[in-house]
């Protein structure tokens, strides 16, 4: 689809407003939903327990507290479910109606997710921030440069995550049912993004591989900035890798989308 950027920009406020309305349409589901994706809290309990006995490979209990609370915040702000939505839209035929609108579905889905973010984070992020301030603040960086780069890093992490999930969703044009792939993706993500444990604690060969894969840049990178794990000299590589993966992810997602559209069978009457 060729939609003009100006048209998309003009439509953006309405897309965001509709996204908010959809997010809060079901009150009970909404309440349950904002309590999900809190797995980092479980990992926090587990690892602080481990470190409570003795520091684990130089990671003390407060280090784990700061790390997993930072993880929780970044995960809340970057997690998305677009692959599930797209798969369902292709299976149900709803995708056909989306294709008849002159704004690329990438932006429509992205706006819906962006609109949901503040609500998704309405409880978890303030709680995590309070906990961080009360018990993990000394494990956070106070370097102004690192702090200034946290938000751009989270934005890039969001873009990488959204692009990869969009690409998985676009596979529905080829496979119709893509949830098995999404599950495989999540298994890799959990291990290689730092979601289950800090990447530094992975066996060295796996950590070395993880440093080049996109998963690190979807979660660990902003967390590493928040927890002050980098010198200034390392920042260009970290942010450069994030930007590179965002570009690759975006290009890959759109290429897969365009290839998929050619095969689209628009199932059902």
């Amino acid at each position: 689809m060729r939609s003009t950027p100006a048209r998309t920009l003009r439509a953006l406020p309405t897309l965001l407003r509709i996204g908010v309305a959809e997010t809060v349409a079901y009150r009970a589901e909404f309440l349950v939903w904002i309590l999900t994706t809190t797995q980092p809290l479980i990992m926090l309990g587990l690892w602080t327990n481990v470190a409570g006995l003795a520091a684990f490979r130089d990671w003390s209990s407060p280090d784990f507290v700061a790390y997993f609370l930072a993880c929780l915040i970044v995960r809340q702000l970057t997690g998305n479910w677009v692959a599930w939505q797209m798969s369902e839209d292709v299976r149900s035929g709803a995708m056909a109606m989306k294709l008849l609108r002159p704004v690329h579905p990438f932006f429509v889905y992205a706006a819906g997710h962006a609109a949901a973010l503040p609500f998704r984070s309405i409880i978890a992020v303030p709680v995590a921030l309070i906990l961080l301030a009360s018990s993990g603040v000394h494990a956070l960086t106070s370097d102004p440069l690192l702090l200034a780069l946290v938000l751009p890093s989270i934005a890039l992490a969001w873009l990488i995550t959204f692009s990869i999930m969009f690409a998985i969703g676009a596979l529905a044009f080829f496979l119709t049912q893509t949830m098995a792939i999404a599950n495989l993706y999540f298994a890799l993500y959990s291990l290689l993004s730092g979601y289950l444990m800090p990447l530094k604690l992975l066996p060295a060969p796996i950590a070395a591989v993880a440093a080049w894969l996109p998963f690190r840049y979807m979660l660990s990178a902003p967390v590493e900035l928040l927890t002050g794990k980098h010198s200034h000299a390392e920042l260009p590589l970290l942010l450069g890798m994030q930007a590179a993966w965002a570009a690759v992810g975006l290009a890959g997602a759109l290429a897969l989308w365009h290839a998929g559209i050619r095969r689209f069978e628009s199932v059902g009457g």
């Binding site: 035929g93 002159p102 628009s266 009457g269």
Partner: protein, 329 residues
Amino acid sequence: MIRAVELTKHFKVHRRPPGFASAVRSLVRRRYEVVKAVDGVSFTIRRGERVGFLGPNGAGKTTTLKVLSGLLHPTSGEVAVEDFVPFRRQASFLGKITLVMGQKSQLIWDLPPSETYALNRAVFDVPAAQFDKTLAELTELLELAPLLDKPTRQLSLGERMKCELAAALLHQPTTLFLDEPTIGLDVAMQVAIRDFVRSYNQRHEATVLLTSHYMDDVVALCPRIIVIDQGKLIHDGDLRQLIKARDPDKRVSFTATQPIAADDLARLGALLVRDGQRITLRVAERDVAGVVARLLGELKAADLAIEDPPLEDVLRAMFGARRKPDGEP
């Protein structure tokens, strides 16, 4: 204008017999078959025409509409709608067309229709004044006022279809692809939708390509019909010509005011329906005048009507009793 030249659309379909064993076998070895949903169809529709698109289930009607609206890439052939190649789905093309599918919804399920309208206003970049005017018109014509703020999931099928139609027309498209727009609606609502489509066509000189389960929709709206069967075009032309070519006999219906012997009836024409005193005969066109004179004079028949054969009957004869002339699944 809509133009299709030797349009084909083939699908690769996985075939599997029923049963557990075949389900397991299909994991390692699959049998595919190429289905020619549309097979070399050509036609041209001028701006402002209303055309009925008919065929039995699986004839390729919906597939053709999806190709014309840009949802599907054709396997081969040429297709142009309003001078655009549909599958490129340029924004200016999408702004000129609409596709209403009776079995699909573009309304946002959890929100009231007014939110879908706001979304369409934004993505189609409809100026606010034009949007307000068009929505006011549509609200009045389709009696939408009580529906606009109810969540879509709580609307009845008929209410939803009216809201769908409004959502599809807010950007004032000039080519309408209507796929079963009256499915599931009661008769009064079907008539309202038909009247609305005709009025929209006349006011906007919009081209309308319509498939419908209900032949009354087609007869009332479409002077021209295109018939396809098994992906191939088998008729393109005037509706009355089709009926005349396929079944030139007339239907003569009357109410008998006195007993008529079976032999007398047989001499008048072939008995099609006898429902109490109401009788319908099939009469060759050249004999109609004589039969009518005799019925009104000698036999004192009342409420006499002479009609063309119903389109359903003509299509049923064309496609055979194996299939009904209606929409695809």
